[in-house]
């Protein structure tokens, strides 16, 4: 392991930096929510409905209650009051499933909780939950895969407030399409996908009569606090949420789910700490999923390949009560130059649990559709798909009519093509071979939003030369611990190994949610502001406090650099270190608070901020065994300044791996008989394993986007997944001649291939 030799003068920004929390993660000492233990801890296991549509007729807990070690079986009659929560604009109190658990006897999806068993041990609680007898009146569940839009008004309520279904429109797209020289009109389908972070979701809840304390692996501790405060009728100061490490989330841990309120209610009723950890099966049933989408895309173009019309009509399915909208049109209005465009959406209700954002929500399925259509158009026109994209590169964001802050998409394409060897491509289907296999090459582009959430942070400089930075955000595996330390080190000169980072706690200054790839972009200005204020405070100490060598100066005479305070007139060499100054003045620390505003709620943004990327993919197709394998992927990211390229490359590779799963493997299947997600385990819901991972090459363009923050850093957690599936289906077509428009690609689809090795 390279030892980090820090000198006070080198900034770690942009340097390959091993994670500061790494030694904890590799040794089992990093504490995830369900790792905590408390005296008197009880274990809870929920009872899941085994129908997806109907009514709970009778719940018989008599046998379960008598079982050894059982403390209680809670159900609607004895769980106590759990209130309904509501969205608190602009950005708190968010939840996809609003109905408080056990609120009524109507069952609307398979796995909905109908009771909860609490016992001294996990084994006893599980046995008791299994012994609760529920009887139902059943109706046939509707989990139909063919989506038809509900008749909804043009403006509808969603999880995030009221939205118009006509998302974007310009020119006359119908007329332009009708008279276009070349047309694509296809429907693309992406299936329900389950996030499946390896960490099971769970809650440890403690109630002391006044204060509700929760250990939960949340991607948004402050939002969880605001929802729980509402659900339990408490002032938010009386709710504390702690999340030290998160075993990833990909969106499933963004908003609160019903098990959390159940654990809190059980802790309240019993006056004991209660631990409730979901089973993997429950992770498929009640903590969200990416919904099925069905998207009709129409492209009209000239014979030369200039787009004249783009229409995207998309649908997602959702639960009976919720308001989830999968924003498949997120990047459609600005990604390409096209004078006539319309994006319109609708929804279809099903007896399924609520969907929720999953990595790159909306854009990932949306770009699968639009980028696949672009690839089909290129094939029809017989022009290189890269060339088609170059021909339609916009000068401004045509959706909003404003300039881009920093867009280098064409350079992504050029770099990616060079690294991949795209110039050697023979466009003819099935024409490229190696070692008895057919090679398929494909590409795709993608874009993802950039910006900031509001954020606050505090920075302390201490008399032992160390620093502490605190921000109520989360590290879900994206490297936020390390980035916070890098930012503080950059500003203060304190080496990384002397910086304590504290996050994941609602007792800290409110930080951004870990969603939308916006954490990094959001925290930079807040942490810089906090560090600047700590330094200002230090200079004031230097000029006012007895014991300081700068007693006869004013703060303006002084400067701070590389961890030292000095008189500008005398130069850095004659300065004193922070620890020296604090010791001389008998102070333990100085502190500064920082704050920055969000950009997402700006009414009239001046620039359009996004990240861009492209993927070039090679698959091999072995016709004899019908084996399709993704061999190698070259990805180029225009993601602003990259603060930690070591973790950054890893993020992108991980997203590409997830994209391989999306294209070839992942698919949550609902049983039409009872509405259950039937492949609700990790052997039947396939995700990419090590042997499925292609050889990956990632390049960052590293153009700072200073409209986002002073460092020019944008987030990169999601962009790497967008576009991968479209590039893989294009490569698959190139190898097999089979055009797959419904994911995942199945062997059955490819058996129609007439290409021989």
């Amino acid at each position: 392991m390279p030892t980090i030799t820090e000198t006070a003068t080198t900034s770690p920004i942009g340097r390959q930096t091993p994670r500061i929390d790494g030694p904890f993660k590799v040794s089992g000492t990093a504490m995830y929510a369900s790792d905590f233990n408390f005296t008197g801890l009880l274990f809870a296991v929920p009872v899941e409905a085994t129908i997806a549509n109907g009514k709970l007729q009778k719940l018989d807990a008599s046998e379960a209650e008598k079982m050894p070690g059982v403390r209680a079986i809670f159900h609607r009659a004895n769980i106590g009051k759990i209130f309904r929560s509501v969205l608190q604009p602009p950005n708190s109190g968010i939840a996809d499933e609003r109905r408080p658990p056990l609120a009524d006897d109507v069952i609307r999806y398979y796995g909905q909780y109908v009771a909860i068993a609490v016992a001294d041990t996990f084994e006893a609680a599980k046995a008791a939950a299994d012994a609760v007898r529920a009887t139902y009146t059943k109706d046939k569940p509707n989990v139909n895969l063919d989506l038809q839009p509900e008749s909804e008004p043009e403006a509808v309520e969603t999880t995030h407030g009221r939205l118009k279904r006509l998302q974007s429109e310009r020119g006359d797209p119908d007329k332009a399409f009708a008279s276009a020289q070349v047309k694509v009109d296809q429907t693309y389908v992406t299936p329900a996908e389950t996030h499946n972070p390896i960490e099971l979701q769970g809650t440890i809840a403690m109630w002391d009569g006044q204060m509700l304390t929760i250990y939960e692996e949340s991607q948004a501790v402050f939002n969880l606090r605001s929802v729980l405060a509402q659900m339990f009728g408490l002032p938010k100061e009386n709710v504390r949420v702690i999340t030290k490490f998160v075993g990833s989330g990909f969106g499933s841990k963004l908003w609160p789910w019903t098990h959390c309120a159940l654990a809190c209610a059980a802790a309240r009723q019993l006056g004991k700490p209660v631990k409730l950890v979901l089973s993997r099966r429950m992770m498929f049933q009640s903590v969200g999923h990416r919904p099925r989408t069905q998207q009709r895309v129409r492209l009209g173009a000239t014979n030369e390949g200039k787009l004249v019309s783009l229409m995207q009509d998309y649908l997602n399915d959702l639960d009976i009560l919720g308001g989830y909208h999968e924003n498949c049109g997120e990047s459609t209005s600005y990604f390409y130059s096209v004078p006539n465009l319309r994006v319109h959406w609708g929804r279809t209700r099903r007896n399924i649990a609520s969907p929720t954002p999953m990595r790159g929500p909306g854009a990932v399925p949306g770009l699968f559709a639009t980028e696949s259509a672009m690839n089909e158009l290129a094939d029809q026109l017989k022009i290189d798909p890269v060339r088609l994209r170059e021909l339609n590169e916009p000068k401004i964001d045509e959706g909003k009519g404003i300039p881009f802050s920093s867009r280098h998409y064409l350079e992504c394409l050029q770099r990616g093509g060079e690294r991949f060897g795209w110039a050697n491509r023979n466009a003819e289907v099935g024409s490229m071979k190696r070692d008895g296999s057919i090679l398929g090459w494909g590409m795709s582009g993608a874009a993802w939003i950039a910006g900031r959430f509001p954020a606050q942070a505090s920075v302390e400089l201490r008399d032992d030369g160390s620093a502490r930075v605190a921000c109520g955000t989360q590290d879900i595996g994206t490297g936020t611990y390390t980035i916070l330390a890098q930012l503080v080190s950059d500003k203060t000169g304190v080496p990384l190994n002397k910086i304590e980072v504290v996050l994941g706690d609602t007792s800290l200054p409110p930080g951004p949610i870990s969603g939308g790839s916006l954490v990094t972009g959001s925290i930079v200005p807040a942490v810089f502001d906090a560090a600047d204020n700590a330094i200002t405070s230090l200079l004031t100490v230097a000029t006012t406090e007895p014991g300081s060598p700068f007693g006869n100066r004013t703060p303006d005479d002084l400067a701070f650099e590389a961890g030292r305070v000095f008189a500008k007139a005398d130069g850095l060499a004659k300065g004193v270190s922070v620890s020296d100054l604090l010791r001389r003045t008998n102070m333990r620390l100085v502190t500064g608070s920082g704050k920055s505003e969000g950009t997402l709620d700006e009414k009239k943004p001046k620039v359009s901020m996004h990240s861009y990327c492209c993927h070039f993919v090679e698959v091999t197709w072995q016709p004899a065994t019908a084996r399709l394998h993704v061999n190698r992927v070259v990805t180029v990211i225009d993601g602003g300044r990259i603060i930690n390229p070591l973790a950054g490359r890893n993020q992108i590779e991980g997203a590409v791996v997830m994209g391989v799963g999306m294209a070839l493997l992942e698919h949550t299947i609902y049983d039409p008989q009872n509405g259950a997600p039937i492949n609700s385990n990790l052997a039947d819901y396939l995700m990419a394993v090590n042997a499925d991972a292609p050889l990956m090459e990632v390049h960052f363009l590293d153009y700072p986007d200073t409209d986002v923050n002073p460092l020019g850093a944008r987030g990169i957690g999601e962009i790497g997944l967008a576009g991968v599936a479209a590039a893989i289906t294009a490569a698959t077509y190139h190898a097999t001649g089979v055009r797959v428009r419904e994911l995942p690609i199945r062997i059955e689809d490819l058996l129609t291939s007439s290409i021989l090795a």
Binding site: M1, G69, S248, L270, G654
Partner: protein, 191 residues
């Protein structure tokens, strides 16, 4: 925080009193417990546990060795991997009571901060994780792999590591980390 004292939540119901009583009676669950002796990381533990307790739950909930993680409880993800007599096992598929007399090693016994195993150090240096939740299981598999008959190629390591799912997808770095340790051990052997 002025309102703090006046904002206690809904009164705790009689159920709470009932549970206090149950506690005094000595939990019946403990009455059904059986004595089990486990050897974990070189230490002997005499326990009384529910016979249904898996080795994984026993490590986590009774011995508070929480480095072994539960990702599926079905032997499908590898997050719970431990060594039993030097071989890797999914501890979620083992009943604790059946491993008395065996040498069990968990991640806590492999290395701790300040004294990490070369594989652990390589995972840090190569950023072979993101969220870290699968990581202890990956490392237990990787450490075991060092003495398994695995060929020198990356492809073989990938195959041998495919029982450990990393949803964050840090696979390329996991392979790099493992190969770096294998290569330096080989160099040492050769030298």
């Amino acid at each position: 925080m002025a309102g703090l004292l006046t904002t206690a939540g809904p009164a705790i119901t009689t159920l709470a009193q009932r549970s206090e009583k149950a506690e005094q009676e000595l939990s019946a669950a403990t009455k059904d417990a059986i004595p089990v002796t486990l050897h974990v990381n070189g230490q002997k533990h005499n326990l009384r546990i529910d016979p249904r307790t898996t080795l994984l739950d026993c490590l986590r909930e009774h011995l508070h060795l929480t480095g072994s993680k539960k990702g599926c409880d079905h032997g499908q993800c590898g997050a719970c991997t431990v060594h039993v007599n030097g071989r890797r096992m999914n501890s979620c598929l083992c009943l604790a009571a059946m491993y008395q007399g065996d040498e069990i090693t968990t991640i806590e016994g492999v290395g701790q901060p300040g004294n990490l195993h070369p594989i652990q150090e390589a995972f840090v240096a190569h950023d072979a994780y993101q969220c870290g939740y699968c990581t202890c299981g990956q490392i237990m598999s990787a450490v075991a792999l060092l003495s398994e008959p695995v060929g020198p190629e990356d492809a073989e390591v990938k195959e041998f590591m495919s029982g450990n799912i990393c949803r964050c997808g840090a696979y390329q770095n996991i392979v790099e980390a493992i190969q770096s340790v294998r290569q330096s051990t080989n160099r040492q052997k050769a030298g």
